[in-house]
């Protein structure tokens, strides 16, 4: 598919020189972007490159500090999402934006419920939703189902349906496939094709290069908040794209193992672990080893971490630490047994945002080992400085730190407990390149010290580049185990349950 398929390249939207800062940190540096009617325009870049921020500016969630947005040649400035919607711009946000207590139909039509005689026409809302769902081939979704009872993927689909239902001329989608299995991705492909035919412009963010090449006409690459390039997808190879995105060859991105790092005894072992979310999990991690858990979103990786850490439970099977069977019923017991868990949801589960760096860093010590807390806390400044934390001092509230620095505080908090096994769930999510490297280096240092590391990541390059072994999950079960350094397709194939060569090359 090439860009000249779309013959009359009417430019619908032109964003130019967009600037945005958070807390004095500039995250967008004069970004330009234009969207043409009937095109799929991919937006790619590393985590934290500013893709979501750009989309949110377009959606009226944030306001740009500088630059202009032109819609049909008219300068616009959206102060409220409603204005964007009214102007024909709809958005699938990266975070879920659904009300769990409301039904699918109510969520889809939220904010613009159909009315008859000034009253909400619930029947029409349901039939319209039903029609929309049927139109999209989603017959298994019921308009009257409560969103709370849907799976993550189901919820993601509702999000997409909601955005489509706006009859918008511009639809931006922020990682819409992140939670989807292959079949649903297929479905999305079909939807996007239909939308293109109608002349809708689609701004599409995804980390999956395959989708970029499958779908897009043009691609804009962001790096560290700055525009790198906008090119026709047909004119670029995936290697080139990655180089533009990362700014250097990927191989040098992941630090090498420290000399002398060796896999020692088995530190952590899960035998046939299972509960309501996962089943038949067998897993071992040795001292000095990095094992990655890969899989699609919702495949149960986080659940394993939670069950291991006593947040949830394994109702079946056994967990062994250093060869001894343990029952961990609470995070407290887990910590006492030498475990640490860096959670995937940094703001929701990792940090107490209104508290200081110091308070966050010593929280686990205070909570679990109060008697040794003060003594243990003395190590913290050293740990923070070795992580190269940038802050205005240890009394600064962590909500004022950048994402990467926040992540360093989380890491420091766990390192202060001197864990024997550390579980890192999406340790680099939303942090910048420099901070990522710091995290990778730290992981190498820890494994050199004999710490067993279980890493969960949705970013395959990271999984492949860092792990000694990769355990791939699918639908809550172990789909297979791969050595580190395999190619992405092999991992994806296991994760989705399809053969890699079934699809075209990226």
């Amino acid at each position: 598919m090439s860009s000249d398929v779309v013959s009359p390249a009417t430019t619908l939207l032109r964003m130019s020189g967009i600037e945005k800062s958070f807390l004095g940190v500039q995250v967008l540096h004069g970004v330009d972007l234009d969207l043409r009617a009937g095109e799929v325009h991919a937006l790619i870049g590393e985590n934290g490159a500013g893709k979501s921020t750009l989309m949110k500016i377009l959606a009226g969630v944030y306001q740009a500090d500088g630059g202009t947005v032109e819609l049909d040649g008219q300068s616009v400035r959206f102060e409220h999402p409603l204005q964007a919607q009214q102007a024909g711009v709809s958005t699938v946000f990266q975070e879920f934006n659904l009300l769990p207590e409301r039904t699918v139909a109510e969520n889809v039509f939220l904010g613009r419920e159909p009315r008859r005689n000034r009253l909400v026409d619930a029947a029409r809302m349901n039939t319209d939703t039903q029609a929309l769902l049927e139109d999209l081939g989603l017959t298994w979704l019921r308009p009257a189902t409560r969103v709370r009872s849907l799976s993550v993927a189901g919820q993601q689909i509702v999000e997409i349906v909601k955005a489509l239902s706006y009859d918008a001329r511009i639809i931006s989608m922020d990682e819409p496939t992140a939670a989807l299995a292959d079949e649903e991705v297929e479905l999305l492909y079909r939807l996007i094709a239909k939308l293109k035919e109608r002349g809708v412009a689609i701004l599409y963010v995804s980390h999956r290069l395959k989708e970029i090449f499958d779908l897009s006409d043009r691609v804009t690459i962001l790096k560290d908040g700055a525009l790198v390039d906008t090119v026709a997808t047909a004119d670029i190879t995936s290697d080139e794209l990655v180089r533009k995105m990362v700014g250097r060859p990927i191989s040098s991105f992941f630090p090498d193992k420290r000399p002398g790092t060796e896999a020692g005894d088995v530190r952590l072992e899960i035998r046939q672990g299972g509960n309501e979310q996962v089943d038949g999990i067998d897993l071992t991690v040795r001292a000095g080893e990095i094992v990655a858990l890969a899989g699609l979103q919702g495949s149960g990786r986080t659940e394993i971490a939670h069950a291991l850490f006593g947040v949830d439970r394994f109702t079946r099977g056994q967990v062994l630490l250093d060869g001894r069977v343990v029952t961990l019923r609470s995070p407290r017991q887990a910590v006492r047994s030498g475990l640490a868990l860096v959670t995937e949801d940094r703001k929701g589960e990792g940090l107490v945002l209104n508290q200081s760096v110091a308070a966050n860093a010593r929280l686990v010590l205070d909570a679990v080992l109060p008697r040794r807390a003060s003594q243990g806390a003395r190590r913290i400044p050293g740990i923070l400085s070795s992580l190269e934390l940038v802050s205005r001092g240890s009394s600064q509230e962590v909500r004022f730190l950048s994402g990467g620095n926040q992540q360093k505080v989380v890491l420091a908090k766990w390192l202060a407990t001197e864990p024997k096994v550390i579980v890192l769930d999406e340790p680099t999510r939303g942090i910048d390149v420099g901070a990522k490297e710091r995290v990778y280096t730290l992981m190498r240092e820890l494994s050199a010290q004999g710490v067993a590391i279980l890493m969960i990541s949705s970013e395959l390059p990271e999984v492949i580049g860092m792990a000694d072994r990769i355990v791939v999950l699918r639908d809550g079960r172990v789909a297979g185990e791969l050595p580190g350094g395999v190619d992405e397709e092999t991992v994806m194939a296991l994760a989705t349950g399809h053969q890699a060569d079934e699809r075209g090359e990226p």
């Binding site: 800062s21 958070f22 807390l23 969630v61 944030y62 306001q63 616009v76 400035r77 959206f78 102060e79 409220h80 999402p81 409603l82 204005q83 102007a87 850490f309 947040v311 609470s330 995070p331 407290r332 887990a334 910590v335 868990l341 959670t343 929701g348 589960e349 990792g350 940090l351 107490v352 945002l353 209104n354 508290q355 308070a359 010593r362 929280l363 686990v364 010590l365 205070d366 909570a367 679990v368 109060p370 807390a373 909500r399 004022f400 908090k413």
Partner: protein, 293 residues
Amino acid sequence: MAFLKQAAPLMILAIGQYFVIVSGEFDLSVGSLVGAQVVIAAALIDGEEGRTVPVILLMLGFGILVGLVNGLITTLLKVQSFITTLGMMLVLYGAIRLWTGGAPTGALSEAFRQPGRGGIDMAVVRQLPWALMILAGIVIVAVAVMRSSYGRTLMATGDNERAAAFAGVRVWRVRTLAFIASSVMATLAAILIGGYAGVTAQVGQGLEFTAITAVVLGGVVLGGGKGSVVAAMAGALTLEALFVLFNQLSLPSTIRPAVQGVIIIAAVAYAARERARPRHHQEVPSQQQPNEA
């Protein structure tokens, strides 16, 4: 001195309420509890000096029990603390009157009245009230507690319960202890109030709202995780000073609630603005802005 002596009970209540609020909860039962404790003291002591100490110990035990029940119902049964403590407020109010037949009976002993009423005679200030020394003791303990591991975990729990739980905090225990602290503080306040003014039927009524207002006035955020115990006390002191000021200005007493209402709304609105400012970017702009598009 006299002013501080008068303010001491409210400050102590504010400290107790602070523990609960900073952990993200409410305690509406403190007013009823103060009333109940004074009535219990009068009924059980019944004027006999010898019973003073045992009865005070019993009161503390009762206070701990009330806090424990509040805490466990809130944390284990997952009833919102607003409802738990509202229920406790009704139960205490009714049970105490049921027990005493509607009006307080008995009498307090002289010894019981000393902490609230008496003091050490001194040269310069004439008298150093016991109440002030008790307050000072409580403040020192409260500040120390907030600096201890427990205090930090309490703060963390109020800020982000989930993150605290992931860090190994036993949330139910931390919160229950906060409720117990609140009830114990209410008990101590009851000892001072009963000592200060004796038994009356109305004692304690409405103190829960005054205490919550005081804490919020001190900049502590309802919902938890923000504000210091010293600020909460300062809020109580400010509120008490406001009442004295009203009196000094001979403001007609009927109009005082209105002025108080305006002041607390203004103070909290101002604090909300201040808080919103540094992180204003994180929020979607308020929809009141004019449409520029």
